[in-house]
């Protein structure tokens, strides 16, 4: 309801433009990469993931350590961009066939395997500044405010989509995820039991996607079906099958 009023109000539009120009983003046309899921896109300013911004994704539960769902979620986003993708990490345990299954072609991805975390940050920033890339991904443990602000500015300058996978060595260290960073959005992806099939076997994987923080927007929780062959997610159709108790308490913790 409030959204409908805002769209039709010219005074508010004007104010928004003014604020946008004050923020320094007014000179350049800021485009977004929509998810194609109206409910999700409505929560994001501009109707999608902003290019030229930093987005943080972590896994929930065990995913905080292995970052499997977060990597696939990011792989799906990167698959829907055009141009090369640079992926910076310290230890290479990705199994690329899985990323190829969400539509990310191996020819598009250049991996930078670094010896330490600082080198990941430096390479990530260099790639963000380069411009013309589809997306730049980094797998990081720590993301201090100063570093994230610097990365955010680098992304703003070149208009590249910056994606950070946060993964920790132990699940208890994941409380670090509450600390503020300069990223535009912050997501947490937790696995849920897969979509039931009428026969024995595994259906499409489902994730509890928490939009924990979004600049100039409101967060939300969504149950989505995992990325398909083109990297698209969908709102899980089976609304009756809400996450079980385990999933719910785990989302709140």
């Amino acid at each position: 309801m409030t959204a409908a009023v805002a769209i039709s109000n010219p005074v508010l539009d004007e104010l928004r433009e003014k604020i946008a120009s004050l923020e320094g983003a007014g000179s350049r046309k800021r485009s977004v990469l929509p998810f194609g899921v109206p409910e999700l896109d409505a929560q994001l300013p501009g109707g999608g993931l902003a290019y030229g911004a930093l987005h943080e994704v972590a896994g929930g539960g065990n995913g905080a350590v292995d970052g499997a769902a977060a990597a696939l979620f990011i792989g799906g986003i990167a698959a829907r961009t055009t141009g090369k993708v640079v992926w910076c990490l310290t230890r290479f345990d990705l199994f690329f066939p899985a990323l190829a299954q969400v539509g990310l072609h191996p020819d598009r991805v250049i991996f930078v395997e670094c010896d330490k975390e600082e080198t990941v940050l430096a390479s990530f920033e260099e790639a963000l500044r380069y411009g013309g890339l589809g997306a730049v991904v980094a797998e990081l443990v720590r993301l201090p405010m100063t570093a994230s602000r610097r990365l955010q500015l680098a992304a703003e300058k070149s208009g590249t989509l910056g994606l950070v996978i946060r993964r920790w060595r132990r699940q208890t260290e994941a409380s670090d995820f509450g600390m503020p960073t300069g990223a535009a959005t912050r997501w947490r992806i937790s696995v849920l039991p897969s979509e039931p099939l009428p026969v024995p076997g595994l259906g499409r994987a489902r994730w509890l996607t928490e939009l924990m923080r979004v600049r100039a927007g409101e967060g939300g929780e969504f149950i989505i079906g995992a990325c398909d062959g083109q990297g698209r997610i969908c709102l899980s159709s089976n609304a009756a099958d809400r996450p079980d108790q385990a999933g719910r308490s785990f989302a709140l913790s």
């Binding site: 499997a68 345990d93 013309g132 696995v191 994730w207």
Partner: protein, 447 residues
């Protein structure tokens, strides 16, 4: 040993005349090759050695150890037995390479004195008769000689012994006069007053890059490897090497490669000369870029790869499929600039997004031969399996290893009650013990 004596010792000995001139020419060829491959400052160390200053250039080969073992392996590939050593000084490296029985030796910074103590006198680059007389006097190792007062030695043998010892221990500078091929594209700038400020260095480096690009343009070449050599007033050289993934003649690109290294230049008392050389240059033909009206322009990422690759501390690669069913063999790393052939994996079967470096053993309750587990314990946590899919049978590759002759792995995708999905396999087909140990392993984590 005289030839007659050798012939008497070994029957049917084949004699070949020594050809010092041809040996020297071959050594020069090898030196020029080493110049293009390893380091900007390379010189011949006749009759049988090559000396290089590898500081600031080893990162292109992945560090000192990798560089040295790679060097020895490449010589061996050509049928030459080589020994290599890295040390602080020319003298020490020379001695170590000739007196050790290991193929590669690396002596850390400041450890030269202890490393050379036990080396024989012959490794000291002294005339043969001096070494002989010293042996007669009872000296056996470099350490013995270094611990002896200088004055009597100098009185008897002249200043040569002291000079060689000082060179070995790094007390006297011994600059390497680098070899230069005849057709090298090189530009240099000498300064009337030594320079030292980073801004000044940067200004002159970018000027040199511009000059070099002009020179290259005249010849239709592009740089693959460029060296910046810094001559300091105290007669020492510092070199910085930058490599590119394909021929380059772009001023901004090359300047950026060197600008990243300027902070590592130590001007000391000042720099009196800068020289920039294109050690490897390849033909570069200008091509017309596609118009944005016809097709979408794809950004070339080679400059980014060069910038990251010249930093050190990281490996840059792409992955490509290999025609193998065994998961850990189905992915290979290729060069980031390799041709894009559009090949990908067959996408029929679910694959985990993270693969463990090596499969981890799990405790399982399962009905043999072909049922998925009912529960399993991984890393001390027991999980009940809610849903499962499988088996996907993968056969061993007998053409790789004979032990895989009838090996089988049965892969299952299992989901526990919180929804976490794992890729587990049983070694063996569940019936025949020949096909595997029937132990269970966890191999990957699904999203």
């Amino acid at each position: 040993m005289p030839a007659a004596k050798a012939q008497a010792l070994v029957q049917g000995l084949t004699m070949i005349n020594a050809d010092p001139v041809a040996d020297l020419a071959t050594l020069e060829r090898l030196t020029l090759w080493a110049l293009s491959q390893y380091s900007p400052v390379v010189a011949m160390d006749p009759p049988d050695g090559i000396i290089m200053d590898t500081e600031g250039a080893d990162h292109l080969q992945g560090g000192e150890e990798l560089m040295l073992s790679g060097l020895v392996n490449r010589f061996r590939g050509r049928g030459l037995a080589a020994r290599a050593a890295i040390a602080d000084t020319w003298g020490a490296a020379h001695a170590l390479a000739r007196s050790t029985d290991r193929e590669t030796v690396i002596i850390g910074r400041g450890e030269t004195a202890t490393a050379v103590n036990r080396l024989p006198l012959s490794s000291l680059r002294l005339p043969a008769e001096t070494v002989q007389s010293l042996r007669t006097l009872g000296f056996a190792t470099v350490g013995d000689l270094a611990a002896t007062p200088r004055a009597p030695l100098t009185l008897r043998f002249g200043p040569e012994i002291g000079r060689r010892l000082d060179q070995m221990f790094g007390r006297v500078a011994e600059p390497i006069d680098p070899i230069r091929p005849a057709d090298l594209v090189e530009v240099q700038k000498s300064f009337a007053e030594p320079i030292g400020a980073p801004e000044t260095i940067e200004k002159y480096v970018s000027r040199l890059v511009r000059q070099l690009c002009l020179e290259l343009e005249k010849r239709g070449l592009g740089v693959r490897r460029a060296d910046l050599i810094v001559h300091r007033v105290d007669n020492t050289l510092q070199s910085h090497r930058a490599g590119t993934a394909k021929p380059v003649r772009d001023i901004a690109w090359l300047t950026k490669l060197f600008r990243d290294r300027i902070e590592r230049i130590e001007p000391g008392f000042g720099i009196e000369k800068l020289s920039l050389a294109a050690i490897i240059a390849e033909p570069l033909i200008e091509t017309q870029s596609a118009s944005s009206l016809i097709e979408e322009q794809v950004t070339d990422v080679t400059p980014l790869i060069d910038v990251l690759g010249n930093r050190g501390g990281q490996r840059i690669f792409r992955v490509a499929p290999v025609a193998s069913d065994v998961p850990e063999r189905s992915v290979q790393r290729i060069a980031p600039t390799a041709d894009e052939d559009g090949a990908t994996w067959p996408l029929h079967w679910p694959r985990p997004s993270r693969l463990l470096a090596r499969p981890e053993a799990i405790e399982v309750i399962a009905l043999l031969p072909d049922h998925p587990p009912v529960s399993f314990t991984w890393r001390g946590k027991r999980r009940r399996v809610k849903r499962a899919d499988g088996p996907e049978r993968i056969f061993g590759e007998w053409w790789k290893r004979s032990s895989e002759w009838i090996a089988v792995r049965d892969y299952f995708v299992v989901e526990d009650d919180t929804g976490e999905r794992f890729w587990i396999f049983r070694s063996g087909d569940g019936v025949d013990a020949e096909t595997g140990s029937h132990k269970w392993f966890l191999h990957g984590v699904f999203a």
